[in-house]
Subunit: 346 residues, 4 copies
Amino acid sequence: MVIVMLPGVQQEMVDAVVRRVETAGGRAFVSRGVSRVIIGLVGDVETFAALDIGGMPGVGQVSRVSTEYKLVSREQHNDRSVVRVRGVPIGPDTVTLIAGPCAVETPEQTLAAARMAQAAGATMLRGGAFKPRTSPYAFQGLGELGLKILADVRQETGLPIVTEVVSAHDVDMVAEYADMLQIGTRNMQNFALLQAIGEAGRPVMLKRGMNATIQEWLMAAEYIAQRGNLEIVLCERGIRTFETATRNTLDVSAVPVVQELSHLPVIVDPSHSGGRRDLVLPLSRAGIVAGADGVIVDVHPQPSLALCDGAQALVHEDLAELADAVADLTVYMGRQPARRRYSSTG
Amino acid sequence: MVIVMLPGVQQEMVDAVVRRVETAGGRAFVSRGVSRVIIGLVGDVETFAALDIGGMPGVGQVSRVSTEYKLVSREQHNDRSVVRVRGVPIGPDTVTLIAGPCAVETPEQTLAAARMAQAAGATMLRGGAFKPRTSPYAFQGLGELGLKILADVRQETGLPIVTEVVSAHDVDMVAEYADMLQIGTRNMQNFALLQAIGEAGRPVMLKRGMNATIQEWLMAAEYIAQRGNLEIVLCERGIRTFETATRNTLDVSAVPVVQELSHLPVIVDPSHSGGRRDLVLPLSRAGIVAGADGVIVDVHPQPSLALCDGAQALVHEDLAELADAVADLTVYMGRQPARRRYSSTG
Amino acid sequence: MVIVMLPGVQQEMVDAVVRRVETAGGRAFVSRGVSRVIIGLVGDVETFAALDIGGMPGVGQVSRVSTEYKLVSREQHNDRSVVRVRGVPIGPDTVTLIAGPCAVETPEQTLAAARMAQAAGATMLRGGAFKPRTSPYAFQGLGELGLKILADVRQETGLPIVTEVVSAHDVDMVAEYADMLQIGTRNMQNFALLQAIGEAGRPVMLKRGMNATIQEWLMAAEYIAQRGNLEIVLCERGIRTFETATRNTLDVSAVPVVQELSHLPVIVDPSHSGGRRDLVLPLSRAGIVAGADGVIVDVHPQPSLALCDGAQALVHEDLAELADAVADLTVYMGRQPARRRYSSTG
Amino acid sequence: MVIVMLPGVQQEMVDAVVRRVETAGGRAFVSRGVSRVIIGLVGDVETFAALDIGGMPGVGQVSRVSTEYKLVSREQHNDRSVVRVRGVPIGPDTVTLIAGPCAVETPEQTLAAARMAQAAGATMLRGGAFKPRTSPYAFQGLGELGLKILADVRQETGLPIVTEVVSAHDVDMVAEYADMLQIGTRNMQNFALLQAIGEAGRPVMLKRGMNATIQEWLMAAEYIAQRGNLEIVLCERGIRTFETATRNTLDVSAVPVVQELSHLPVIVDPSHSGGRRDLVLPLSRAGIVAGADGVIVDVHPQPSLALCDGAQALVHEDLAELADAVADLTVYMGRQPARRRYSSTG
C-alpha cells in the first residue's frame, strides 16, 4: 500500500500516519521527494484498510498499488509524456535522434563527431566523460575535462548534451555541465545513484540493465520518480542472451511493451546492442517503426582510433543514409522530427 | 575438410577417396544428396592436404571450410537466393506475407482464416495439421484430416500452403499435400527430420530453435542442403531469454546478421515470438525494415475459441492496418509485393 | 481435465465418452498407451464437471490435473520410483555410476573404455552409436555397427548398455541391442520420438533439453509415460546460459526440485554440462550430495584421438579418485552402490 | 600492457613514463592504489615494446597481460590466498560457515539469528543494514541503526560481521562497524563503489553479478585489488537463467573454474541462489564438495515475519542438519572448520 501525502504536508502529519501504521503492527517507510512525501506500507493490507488513513490530515491519496511501480505507470497517467531537454522534445509526437562519440577523447574529435551528428539530423549530442568499463585497465574517460569539452561543443553547435554519471558523488558536478544525465546499463540498479539523480533537477536517460526485466527497469525508474523527478526517458540498449553473433540482443519488443505499461518516452540504442556498425542502420529503422520515441547512435570521425567501442561507430559515409531513414520513417509513423523549440530551460 | 564429388560420380570413385583418407589415418563420412555426393573428412588437415585428393577421378572441389556450414554460406554463393513456392517468390526483391491459423481446426475456420489472410495481402497460407505441444494433453492437431482441409482451401483460394512436419515418418505424406514444409522451433536439431526433408523435393521453412545460436541454425540448414535441397527459407521466431513480458524475444538483429552469412532468404514470425496480438503489428514493421524477406503471422476468425495460441492471433479489425504496413514498407525498402507469377511448379 | 479409462476398456466406451464431451461443446483427444487409454479434454471445466463422466462405463478416474503432467507427478505417486536396467537399480536407495565413451569408435576403444568404467566402479556402460551433431560434417556415429560393438562389450564385461536413439524410425532396432534407450538433449521435445520410445518396452534415460525448463522436461517425460512406459530416468546435463567458461551450466538445484515434483529417478551428467575434464570430479561430487540417484560420465582411453567430445573425457589417472568419491559420498548420503541383482529382465 | 611501478615511486618517474608513452602516440592511464601505482597503456603493443620502459627509473614490472585481470590472477600468484576476518580464516584449508538474517530488523531478531548461526557452527555473522531492493516501496534496511545492532550482537556473541555497502558514500561509515564489507550482486559493476572499497582497509566479500560472466567477476575484483586491497572473497550466488522453479541458478561449476583462474577464496550462497528453504541444505553440500571455501546462509527465528526473503531462511529445525553436513563434508574434503585464531585485527 502506498500513501501519497499532500504537497506541503507537515512533519507531524507524516509522523501520525507512521504511528498509526506501527501501532497496528505494520511498518511504514517514508520517502521524501522534491515535490512530495510518499509513505510505503509493509504488512497486512486488510489491517491497513481498517485504519482509515485516507481520512487523516495531510493524506492525499491511498492506493493499493497493483503494480510495484506507480508514479511511472500508465494506470494513473494515461497520456504518454514528453520530456524536453533544452527545448528538444522526446515523446509521442516526435522521433529524436541523438548522436555523438561513445567517449569524449579530444576537443577536435568531439567537435567533429558533433558535426557528424548534425549531418545525420541529430538534435542532441551524446558523449561519455565518465566511462564504466569492465576492465580497470581500459580507458575510463576524461572526467571533468571531458565535460568541459562537451560544454564547449554545445556552445559551438547548439546541441544539448546527454552524458553518463557513474557515481552519486559526481551527480552535482555533472549536472552543472550536462542537459540530461544518463544512467548506464551497469548502474540500472545502483539505487543510491538513482536516488541522487532523482534530486538533481535534470532530465534523465535510464538505460535498461542488460540483464533486467522490463518490470525491474520500470521499478528503477520509479526510484528516480519517487524523489520527485519524472523527466525520465527509458533507453532499450540490448539484453544479454546466449547469442554471440551480436554483443547483446536488441529487445525491440520492449518498446511497445513499455509504452503500454508506462507513460515515459522510450528510445533505442542500436549501437551498443549490436556492437557492430553494419547493424546500426537496420536496427535504427526497426526501433522507429516499433514505435520508439528516439534513437541514440555512436558516431566517430576515425573509429579505428576510438578509445572505446570503435567497432560500432558510424562513419561519414553512413550519415546520409541514417538521416534519410530517420526522416522518412518519422513521417511514416505520423510523427515530426524533434527540433528545438521555445523552452524555459533553453 | 569437405570434398564435393562431381555430378554422376561412380561409387568406385567415392570408395577410392575414402580408402586414401583412411590409409592416411583419417576418417571419411559420405553424404549422398539428391544431386551430389559430399565427403566430410575428420583428422589432420595438413595430412589430407598432402594426399592430392583434388586430382582423383570424380572429385569436383576440395575445400578447407572456414565456416562449419558451406552450402548455405554466402562465401561461395554471393547472390542472395530466391525460393519459389508454387510461383510465389521469397527473396531479396520482395516482401512475402504468409498468414493463416496457428492450427487447422475445421474447414470453416480454415477457409475463414484464409480469406482473412488474403484481405491482409498474404499470398501464402500457413496452418498446422501436426502441432508439437509441450503438454501431451494439449490439442495435437488434426493430422492428415487437417492436410486435406488445407488442400481444399488452397483449391478455393489459390494460396500455396506451408505446414509443419514433426516426424521423419510423415514427410512423404505431408509433402503430398503441402507446397512448403515447415520445421518447427523444437525440431530444429532433429537431424533425422532435417535429412528426410532434405530429400523430399519441396521448399522448406526452417524455424530457428528458440535456444539456437545463429551458427547452429545455419548448420541445421546445412543438414537439409547436404541432402540436395537448397530451397530453404529461414524463419526467426524469437529466442528464449529471461524476459517474461513476452513469450520469447524476437531477435530482429538476426535478420541482417544471417543475410550477411548466408544466401538463404530470412523471414520473421512476430506472432510466436511475442505471443501477444498487440505486438504483431509493430514487430512485423520492425522485421521488414530490418530487411526481412517476408513475414508470417497468425490470424483467426475467433481467437477466443482457438485451440492453439489464440492470444497472438490477429482478428478482422487488424487486417487493414497490417496490409497497409506491409505494402508501404515493402515500397520503402525498394521491394515489391510477392505475387504469384509463372512457375514451373505452379 | 484428464480421464483415465479402465484397463481393457472397449472402444465403444471410449467413443461414448468422446461423444458426450463433443455434444457439450468440448473436444476430446484420445491417447492410447500400451497399458491404458487416456482422454484429454479441452474446453470449459465447469461444463465437463456437469457431464458425470465418472459414472460412465469403462471410466477409471477423472482428474482436474493441477499440474500439466500427471503420470510422472509425485502428487499421486508419493514413493520415489526405482528403475531397473538388467537388474541394476537406479533410484532413491542407491547411487548408480554409468560410464563409457561419448561415441563408440572401434571395438578396442569401446572395450578399453568399458574396462575403465568398471575400474571406476560403474555398473552400466554408456556409449553412442548414433550421435546428433551440430555440424553435418562432424562424426555422426557408427550406427548399427556401433550397437553390435556395444553388445559384444556387454557380453565381455556384463555391463548393461544405455545408448541414444535419434529417430523414431530406429527405436525398434536400437531396442534390440540396448538395455536402456537414451533421448538426447536436442530431442527432448521430439514428440514423435518420445511417443515411439514410450512403446518400446525398454527403460529410458531422458536428458533435459539444454533450454528446457523443469516443467517442460517433466511434460516430455509425460509423453513417454502416456504411452505406457514409466521406466524413465531423468538426466540433468546442463542448461544454456550466458556463461562461456563452461559449455553449459550444470543446474544442480534441478535435482532436489525434480525429486519434489516427480517420483522418477534423477541423475546428473557432469561431463557434458561442463565440457571440461577438470570439472567432472567436483561436479560428480556436487550432484551426489545434492541427492542425485546416479552419475553418468565420459571416459576414453585416449581422449586426444576421440572423435567426439574428447576434452571432457576422464582418463586412467582419474578413475581411482572418481571411484573413491562415488563410494564415499554414496555412504555419506545413506545409500548403497548400485550393483546388479536378481532381475526378471536380466 | 600494464606497468607496475616500484613501491614509493616518485611522481616525476610516473610522469616520465606517461610522457614517453604519449610521445610514441599511445595513451597512459595512471591508477594509484594504496600500496602501488599501476599504469595501463592503450595503443600499439609493438610500439610500446620498443620504448624500453622496463629500464626507466621507478618501473618495477612491465607485463603484456594475457588475461584482463592480473592482480587477482593465479598466473603470478600460484598459492591460493587466505583472507582473515578478525582471525577467522577463509581459504583453501578450511570451510567457513557464515550465517545470519537477510536483513537486520530488531536487536532481538538479530541476536536470536546469531545464536542460530552459532548453533549451526557458523563463525561469522551476516546481516544487512542497507538493502538494495528492486522496488522502492520494499523495506530498505535500518541503515546505521542496523549497523549498531550488529555491533552489539558481535559484542554479545564474538562473531565477526559481514554486511553490505550500497554506496561509495557510506563506505567509511560502514567500515567503522563491520569486519568485512559486502558488495551485492546488483553492485558488482558499480565501479565507484568497488574503488572506494578498495581503499577502505577491510576485507571484502564480492558477490557475483547475477548476469556476470566469471571473467567480468574477476575484473570487478581487479578494480578492488588495483586500489591496494587484495583481501577479497568471491561469492557465487546464482545467475539469471530461463528457469523459473528457482529464483536464480547456482552455478556450482564456477567454484572450481574460479579457483583455477584466481588465487582468491570462493564461497557459495545457497539461500539467495535458490530462493527456497528446501534447497539450502542440498546446495550447501554441493558447494562444499565442489571445493568452496565457505558457505553463507540466511537464518531467521520467524521467517514468516521476515521483512526480506523469508522464504529462503533456515529455521531452528534445520540447524543440526546443516551443522552436521558442514562438519562432515569439511572433513571429507580434507579441510578443517574455520575457527577464530590469534589475529592482529581481532
